[in-house]
Each structure stands twice: as structure tokens, then as C-alpha cells.
Symmetry: C2
Subunit: 363 residues, 2 copies
């Protein structure tokens, strides 16, 4: 049995269960080396340690400007927070899959991926009027809206200029992705304060806001690595599914996460009435819960003051949390299946580890 068909068999056999599927998928190529996810992540970190250090150093220099400037401070503030750097890692691994190491061009594109992400966070905080992100004050609370707007503009243009010097086709794709991100953010803004449990709208928002940049990061890496356009596109699909997995797990953690482990307050999305997959499912299944969620979205709920335990319990009772976990897993599996069509090697193994850790993360 070929590796790919064995994966398919695993998938259909295990479609009702949860983590074992992925475990099996990952270990098809991985278990013989290191046993569990933590070990594989450690191995991945060891493998790319020099490149990741390079990246962090380069990100530290992005806003090292001659003037001390509040807008750059706002950008720096966010860049320095120990981010997961998942998008640059995608660029790095995409290039590796084509046999290209983390040279200066790949580094520029990897940096750009993180800068675009950071720029949207800066603008999002102004748009959402957010006070905290992951337990830390948002840049706009520290430096003001003005600095966050300008800091975001600065990073966005900086990112485009970096990619432009490397590859014009990749830059053109980045422009499209940023346009998608802005459209998705606008759609989310439009939906705010009017909880409308619409799956199609949710998917459009998440594809634009989250999945598009993951897709670009992997595809860009693959193109820089010299992979055929078709193969790079498949890498992009992996990114698309990885991004969806990421967002669905974010949705889960908001409602079901352990605040002490996450390092942030729970139920922020819930209190803001943001459309998430578990709230959509719960609203579909229970009219009372739908009405309650609508009320939360319409009113302004203070998360710190409000007791949302009952709402969370209602959502849980509909089975929405379990089914969101299953949905996240479904996307992770789609990513794994797409990966099976890609060249065998350490980069592919590493991407499987990334997908699995995206699904299993607790913060």
C-alpha cells in the first residue's frame, strides 16, 4: 500500500475519533524518529534553531529607526512579544521543501509574512477597540490609536517593499492577500453587534483574515524554493487548511481554554459577540442560546464583570464545543492529506508537526 492510500485508509477508519487519526498520520513518516508531539516539536526547533534565531534578530531590527518614534514603538512593542512566528516558519519550510535554505531572500519574505500579520493586529486593535491581546495591553492602549494606525501602515509598506525586492509575482500575490484580509475585516466589522450565525459569512471572514496569509506564506516559500507552480499551489492549500485549523482552535480556546495556560482572559470573542464556530453551532441547535448570544452581541458586555459560565455551559450542552474540535481536526486532516502529495522529506515532516501542534495547542 502506498503511503498516500494508507493515509486515506487511516482517515476513513478513524473519522469518528479524535487525536489518534492525526497521531497516525503524523507518525506514518515520523514516529520512527521521535515519539510524541513535544519531542517532534523540540526536534523541529533544534533543526531550525539557527534560522529562527536569525529571524528573531531580523525582526528586532525592522523598526530600529534613527528617531525614537511612538508609531515605531507601537510596532516594535507587538513584534517583540514572543509570537509563535508560525507564518515565517511556513515560508521557511516551503522554501526548504524546494531545497532552498534560509538565505537573505527567503528571510525577507519570512519577515514580510510576520510584518503583515503584525500590521493587521495593530489595525485590528484600533478597529476592535481592544484593551488586551493575549493578556498583554494592546499597543493602542500603551501608545494610542494614532501610533497603532501608523505603526500598522509602516509595517505593511515595509513588508511589501521587502517582497518586491525578492520576487514580483510573490509580491503581487501578497497584495491580493492583503486585499482579502481587509475585505474580511470589513465584513467582520459589518457583522459586529448583530450576531448572525451564518456559516458562509464565518468562512469568508476566516479565510480572508487568517487562512489567506498562511496560504500565501507556504506558497511563497515553495515558489522561492523553486517548486513547480502546481506544487507550490498545493503547499498553499496546506496553508489554507492550517489557517482554518488555527482559527477554529482559537475559537475553542476562547470558550473552553484555560485562562492561566493561555495567558489571556477567556470569552473575549464571546463577550464581543464575534462570530465563532462554536457559537454558530450552538445558535443553530438551540433558539434560547441563539437569543442569548444575540443579546450579548447587541449589548456591551464587560467580560471581567460578566459571569459567562452559564453561557459557556449552554454552548457546551449543544455539543458545539466537541463538534468545533472535530471541525478543527477535519481541517488538520485536509492539510495532512494535501501534504501527502508533496515531496517526502524533512520539510514535509516538519509541516506535519506544525499542523498537529496547531490542532493540539492550548494557548
Amino acid at each position: 500500500m502506498s503511503e498516500h492510500s494508507s493515509v486515506q485508509a487511516e482517515l476513513s477508519r478513524n473519522s469518528e475519533t479524535s487525536e489518534p487519526v492525526l497521531d497516525n498520520l503524523v507518525t506514518v513518516t515520523y514516529r520512527h524518529r521521535v515519539g510524541n508531539l513535544a519531542d517532534r516539536l523540540a526536534a523541529l526547533r533544534d533543526w531550525l534553531q539557527d534560522d529562527l534565531s536569525d529571524l528573531d534578530a531580523a525582526l528586532g531590527r525592522v523598526v530600529a529607526m534613527p528617531t525614537t518614534d511612538v508609531a515605531w514603538d507601537a510596532a516594535q512593542y507587538l513584534l517583540q512579544q514572543s509570537g509563535k512566528r508560525v507564518r515565517p516558519l511556513c515560508v521557511m519550510l516551503g522554501a526548504r521543501m524546494g531545497g532552498r535554505l534560509f538565505d537573505d531572500d527567503v528571510r525577507q519574505v519570512a519577515i514580510a509574512a510576520e510584518l503583515v500579520h503584525t500590521a493587521t493586529l495593530l489595525h485590528d486593535d484600533v478597529i476592535d477597540q481592544g484593551a488586551e491581546r493575549r493578556g498583554v495591553s494592546t499597543a493602542r492602549m500603551v501608545y494610542g490609536n494614532a501610533a497603532s494606525v501608523l505603526g500598522g501602515d509602516h509595517l505593511l509598506i515595509d513588508a511589501l517593499r521587502r517582497v518586491e525586492t525578492v520576487d514580483l509575482k510573490v509580491m503581487s500575490k501578497l497584495l491580493t492577500v492583503i486585499a482579502d484580509m481587509v475585505s474580511a475585516e470589513a465584513l467582520q466589522l459589518e457583522m459586529r453587534k448583530s450576531f448572525r450565525p451564518d456559516r458562509d459569512i464565518y468562512l469568508r471572514i476566516v479565510e480572508g483574515k487568517t487562512a489567506a496569509l498562511f496560504r500565501w506564506s507556504l506558497e511563497a516559500g515553495g515558489l522561492l524554493g523553486g517548486l513547480d507552480a502546481q506544487v507550490a499551489q498545493t503547499l498553499g492549500e496546506v496553508g489554507q487548511h492550517l489557517g482554518m485549523t488555527f482559527q477554529l482552535v482559537d475559537d475553542l480556546l476562547d470558550i473552553d481554554g484555560d485562562p492561566s495556560e493561555m495567558g489571556k482572559t477567556g470569552c473575549l470573542d464571546l463577550a464581543e459577540g464575534k462570530l465563532t464556530w462554536p457559537t454558530i453551532l450552538a445558535a443553530e441547535r438551540c433558539p434560547e442560546t441563539a437569543a442569548l448570544l444575540k443579546k450579548i452581541a447587541t449589548d456591551h458586555v464587560d467580560v471581567a464583570a460578566a459571569n459567562l459560565t452559564e453561557v459557556v455551559a449552554r454552548i457546551r450542552n449543544t455539543g458545539a464545543i466537541d463538534d468545533t474540535r472535530a471541525e478543527a481536526q477535519r481541517y488538520a486532516e485536509l492539510a495532512m492529506v494535501a501534504l501527502e502529495a508533496l515531496p517526502v522529506g524533512a520539510a514535509r515532516d516538519a509541516l506535519k508537526t506544525v499542523v498537529e501542534s496547531a490542532l493540539r495547542r492550548t494557548r
Copy 2:
């Protein structure tokens, strides 16, 4: 005597007087056709009427999106206000100088110039927390900060995508210009609330915020028109000086303009403690005025309530208003001189009219 040396002679002969110099400069090539500025502007409008209508129609379609979306509404709101469309006009005339009409590619680049300008206005209003722009409520007051941030992002990316389809070199230059604009805005933000009458800082801010986009618009037009890089660069210099003229006249109108004619409240910059050329000159010349201006910048002055007549009188007494007018004229003359080196023709004549009207405008 060649046309150019005759202009130089006029300049040196009339260097102490005001408008006649420009009048002479413009009429070297223009007076034999139409007599005064109003007539020349009318002739210019007739000449380009179809192109300008095309442009307005195209700008009306920019944000005609399928969804009714508050972020696009914010962008549309600003785009629909009867702007001067000076930047697209520069693109148009630059291309005409090279013999290229307002075809689709030129139109895309002209639209991009207006979109970048509008995007920065949208973000500036959030940054400045402005309530009015030219007597009309700012988009952020109508649609909120969120829509203004997103609307600005949308227009910026839209502009870049349009230029990218036309000419990659021109797009690369636009990225640099936007980076300059953001840097200048950040510098202005840094200087806020601490009135520091520094000419160098003022020039850096104005070159970035205003002159850079004028420079790009004319140079881009010239490059699209097939002019040599050197000639296009001279067109860019014209744009640079034109932008400086524009800003200095803006500074003048803020302090010395007729609010009923301008269609906006006067002394807005003054009340915000923004660095302008007349306030810098006044502060240099009179320590008491400098202290007063510093106090205005540090405190928060309500323009509607405050009586700034005395401050304006003090500024006027230092001669700062007259000398700002002279400085604006100096830049207009630099633009005229640069124009003399460019190909003779209707486009050059039209640009002279634009420069002169920038200097003489009262709103």
C-alpha cells in the same frame, strides 16, 4: 534671448515683488491665448473635460462593492467630496507631455494617486482625532474610527494593485513614496503637543506628507508618457515644488484665509499646535509669540470657543504671513523654472496654470 534665459531674467529682476513674476512667467507662453488665471483655468478645464469626467466616474466606481459595507462607505464618503483632483491631473498632464492620452493605463495610475491621497486622509483623521475636514464632518465622525482605518487600508492596497498592473517600476516608486508619507506622519505625530519651531523638521514633514505624492504623480505620468527618465525626473521636481507651494498656501489659509470662502473653520492647525511655516517664522522672530504658540500646542484649545484673533495679529505683526506668501511664491517659481526645461506644448502650459492656481487659491 532664449525662452529659458528670459525667464531667469524675469526672476532676478522681479525677485522682490510678488505675483507679477509668476504672471510674467506663465504668460511667456500663455498670455497670447487667454488673459488671466481664471480664463486659463477655464481653458484647461475645457481641454481636459472629458478626461476629468472619466476620472470622476472611475473614482465613483472604486468602492462600488457588492456589499454595503461601512468601511467602503467611509472611503466613498471622502472620495465623493468635490476634491480638487490635483494629483490625478498631474498624472494626466505628465503623460500628455509625452504625447500619451488618458487611456486606461494612465487612468489607473491617476486613480491610484487620488486613492493614496484619500487613504492618508482617512488615516490622518483617526490619527489627528479630527472632527471636520474642509467644513465637512470627517469620515471617522460619520462612520467611526474602525471604518476609517479599514477604508484607508482598502484604498491603499487598491491603489498599489492598480499601479502594479500598469508598470512595476512606477509601483516600486509609489511604495517608496507611501513609506515616506508614513514616516512624515509619524514625525508629525511625535512633534505634536510640543511646538518646536524647527524649519528642518517642518520641511521633512511637508516633503513626506505632501510633496512626495505630487512628485510621484508627475514623474509617473511622464514615465507612462514615454519621456526619458531624466525628463520624467525633472517633472518630478516640478511636482515637488508644486507640493511645497500647496502646503505653504494651506498654512497661510489656516491663519489668514476667509472661512466663508474656504468652506472651513480657520486656525485649525494653529489650535492643534501643528507646525506651520508662519508659526515657525513668528516664533523665531518673537519670543512672546513663541511662548504663546507653545502654550496653545501643549494645552488643548477648542477652536470654536477660543478667540485666536490676538494670536493671529501677533503672528501677522512679525511679518510671518507675508514672508510665508513669499516662500510659497519662491517654490512656485522653482516649479516654473523646472518647467522651462521641459518640452514646450499644451501640457507644459497647463502645468504652469496649475502651479499658478496652487499659489493663488483662496480655498
